[in-house]
């Protein structure tokens, strides 16, 4: 027991001050929201954030939006995700239970969603929790390009979540098929199958991008226009 306490003491508190304090400084090479030249546009939902495309990246991790069209960046402006409507917030605002469905993901998005449960991000302090059954959930978080073999299981999970419910697409694959978009085995994006309330782009998105999106959806971070 003493050993447990000593180790606990040595570990200290590791939780990020985000969102109240400053978010951590991400490393120089981190590829966040792209910097778009005047007169050009880019579809964040299709981007896999590869280094060699000539696109310049900022270190801004805030990228989650409410609509598919919002992922089309023109002139660098982005309208970050807005909070749910008032009736929905009254239900979910202080307690949101989510069921995660991996539908063909490469396990990178899944891993960085899992990270939100570590002491660093400590998701449960916001009243958000991942639960074991869709019947206990208020919504689903989908990763992966929705493979042909996962489609039915995804639909059954979605249908098992009681109304009203929300759907969150995490990662380029779930939004648009990502690197697998050309494969006949996958779908063209989650919103071609079920309506989506929050889009979190990235390959995979940084945990802060996902957390920022969830908090905006719940009105914990106020809507604002971001530009880089």
């Amino acid at each position: 027991m003493l050993k447990v306490l000593i180790t606990r003491f040595k570990q200290g508190c590791r939780t990020l001050p985000f969102p109240k304090g400053q978010p951590p400084n991400l490393p120089e090479r981190y590829r966040g929201r792209p910097i778009i030249a005047q007169g050009t546009s880019v579809d964040l939902g299709k981007m896999t954030f590869v280094p060699e495309t000539g696109i310049q990246y900022s270190r801004d991790f805030r990228m989650a939006v409410s609509t598919r069209a919002g992922l089309l960046l023109n002139n660098g402006e982005i309208v970050l995700a807005r909070a749910l409507q008032r009736e929905m917030l009254a239900i979910f605002g202080r307690s949101l239970k989510l069921r995660q469905v991996s539908a063909g993901g490469c396990n990178a998005c899944e891993a960085d969603i899992n990270v939100l449960n570590t002491p660093v991000f400590d998701l449960s302090r916001f009243g958000i929790q991942f639960v074991a059954s869709p019947r206990h959930a208020d919504g689903i978080v989908v990763t992966g390009p929705v493979t042909r073999n996962m489609r039915e299981a995804l639909m059954k999970t979605y249908e098992a979540v009681p109304d009203p419910k929300i759907v969150i697409a995490v990662g380029a694959c779930a939004i648009s098929g990502g690197v697998f978009a050309d494969s006949p085995q996958v779908s063209a994006g989650l919103d071609t199958i079920i309506p989506v309330d929050l889009y979190v782009p990235g390959c995979p998105p940084h945990p802060l991008t996902i957390l920022d999106g969830l908090l905006r959806l719940l009105g914990r971070i106020k809507a604002q226009k971001g530009s880089v």
Binding site: R31, V50, N114, A132, T147
Partner: protein
């Protein structure tokens, strides 16, 4: 015909044996110490299907390639599985991908549920009309006292989909059948073709937690076929990234195993510490999983003096923290009671099944690509192999603990002495009609990529083998006779990839 890791050979130089000779060769070598590393098929222009067997001679670091033709009018051959257990998944894969029947395979059923690549009638008429792999018949045990437990594809945690069907007598598991395929994205056909720029991105997403492992293997196939010599600095940077990937995952696994044994302190700490290694990968590559680092010819990001000093300073602290927390985990009687004698794989079974990686090493199988098939920087920097003999959950935890410490020592040794050179060499065109093999010791074990080139600078067939392809069957076998409540813990001790298997 023998090759070294990263070697290549003209297709015409690979002997084509008769089916009987092929069978005898494979069985002879596999029963006298070699290991079936791969068995796959590729279409020939003649309409025939060519079978390739890749046998690994671990002690000699040699890879032997054999082939035979299955004639086009009679697409069947006598299955190897009844006399060579390690072939079972490979033969199911061949049957599904090319509609070739391995006669006498004891449990021939689809692996990933897709139509075949020859565009002919599938061996299973309803494979495309019945959408759920889990709807296929399972190996059953018939008795009034036996019940079935079905789990998945959507599991309780944030993990990938797969279906587990237990045949139980009370709490005791008589048999577990694991049915995957839900993650099938069709990666192999996508890697076939000439678009190498897209292929390298795909290789990073075969299994996102093994991005470095798979992208290194892909790059090495291309480098082999283009005769490209990767600068030493790039080789070291790849090795550094590979070890960071191993560290992140092994540390995370130890945390998850503690969690399933009901000991939460270590799982919280390990869970956070896993992120430290991912953040080092982020600093190096701009992505927490190392996506964007490895490209044919070298790497895209340098590791300069400032960064290497910073990494070393951090790794010294991480090592101390790891030692503290692993001591905490491994000294808890309640944890040890849950780890010991659970999910035992004997050395003999591990050998028969052809297991790889930490799972095999926990059953006293001396196999580690970094040592036996060393290429690149591994030829000059040896990491001691970590073995354990008991083959239980404890052994699999112990091997990971040792490997973490040894990877840390390796990094602390190599980071201050990075060779001075460029980080990328130009890549020429791909040698036509050749066959290249590359092996990488990913954190789950032996990754093998095989590229067969066409004459247009691309691939006519690309074969990916994730270590999980061997090891899933090991999990099934480990569960026999165990309590069903031990499954989550045992599953974590294997921590296999669904997407790496499903491709």
């Amino acid at each position: 015909m023998n090759l070294f890791n990263g070697g290549n050979i003209l297709l015409a130089d690979i002997p084509v044996l008769t089916m009987e000779e092929f069978r005898q060769e494979v069985l002879y070598y596999c029963h006298s110490g070699a290991r079936l590393q791969n068995l796959f098929a590729s279409p020939e222009n003649s309409g025939k299907v060519r079978l390739y067997a890749i046998l690994g001679f671990d002690e000699e670091a040699q890879i032997r390639v054999q082939s035979t033709l299955v004639s086009s009018d009679n697409l069947q051959y006598q299955s190897l599985t009844p006399v060579l257990l390690a072939a079972q998944n490979f033969e199911r894969e061949i049957a599904e991908q090319w509609a070739v029947v391995p006669l006498g395979h004891p449990w021939l059923k689809p692996l990933r549920y897709h139509s075949n690549y020859r565009g002919v009638e599938d061996l299973w008429a309803d494979i495309m009309t019945r959408p759920i792999p889990g709807a296929y018949p399972f190996y059953g045990v018939d008795s009034d006292e036996v019940h079935q437990v079905a789990v998945g594809p959507v599991h309780a945690g944030i993990i990938e989909p797969g279906h587990f069907r237990f045949q139980c007598h009370g709490e005791e598991i008589l048999h577990l059948e694991i049915q995957l395929g839900y993650q099938h994205r069709g990666i192999e056909p996508m890697l076939t073709g000439n678009d190498l720029k897209r292929s390298v991105l795909l290789s990073e997403s075969i299994a996102g937690d093994t991005s470095i492992g798979h992208s290194t293997a892909f790059c090495e196939v291309v480098e082999s076929l283009t005769g490209c010599v990767v600068p030493p600095r790039a080789q070291v940077i790849r090795a550094v990234a590979l070890e960071l990937e191993r560290l992140a995952n092994h540390v995370g696994d130890l945390g998850a195993m503690g969690m399933d044994a009901g000991f939460l302190p270590s799982s919280s700490y390990f869970g956070r510490m896993r992120g430290d290694y991912l953040n080092l990968l982020l600093a190096l590559t701009g992505n927490r999983f190392g996506k964007g680092l490895c490209r044919p010819g070298g790497v895209l990001f340098d590791l300069d003096q400032t960064m290497s000093d910073d990494f070393c300073n951090k790794l010294v602290i991480y090592k101390k923290e790891f030692e503290d927390v692993s001591e905490l985990l491994f000294s808890r009687p309640s944890v040890l009671a849950r780890f010991e004698n659970i999910g035992v794989i004997s050395p003999m079974i591990a050998k028969q099944l052809g297991l790889v990686g930490p799972v095999a090493r926990a059953s006293q199988q001396e196999r580690d690509v970094r040592i036996e098939y060393s290429s690149g920087i591994w030829q000059f920097n040896h990491v001691p192999i970590s073995l354990s003999a008991t083959g239980d959950v404890y052994a699999r935890a112990l091997v990971r603990r040792q490997e973490v410490l040894r990877s840390l020592d390796f990094l602390l040794k190599i980071l201050p002495t990075l060779p001075k050179s460029s980080i990328s060499s130009p890549v020429g065109t791909i040698k036509p009609n050749a066959f290249a093999v590359s092996l990488v010791e990913g954190w789950r074990g032996e990754i093998m990529h095989v590229g067969i080139s066409n004459d247009q600078g691309g691939f006519s067939r690309y074969k990916v083998k994730d270590p999980s392809f061997h090891n899933w069957f090991g999990l099934s076998v480990a569960m026999r006779g165990q309590q069903i409540s031990d499954f989550p813990l045992c599953n974590k001790s294997f921590n296999l990839s669904y997407c790496g298997h499903d491709l």
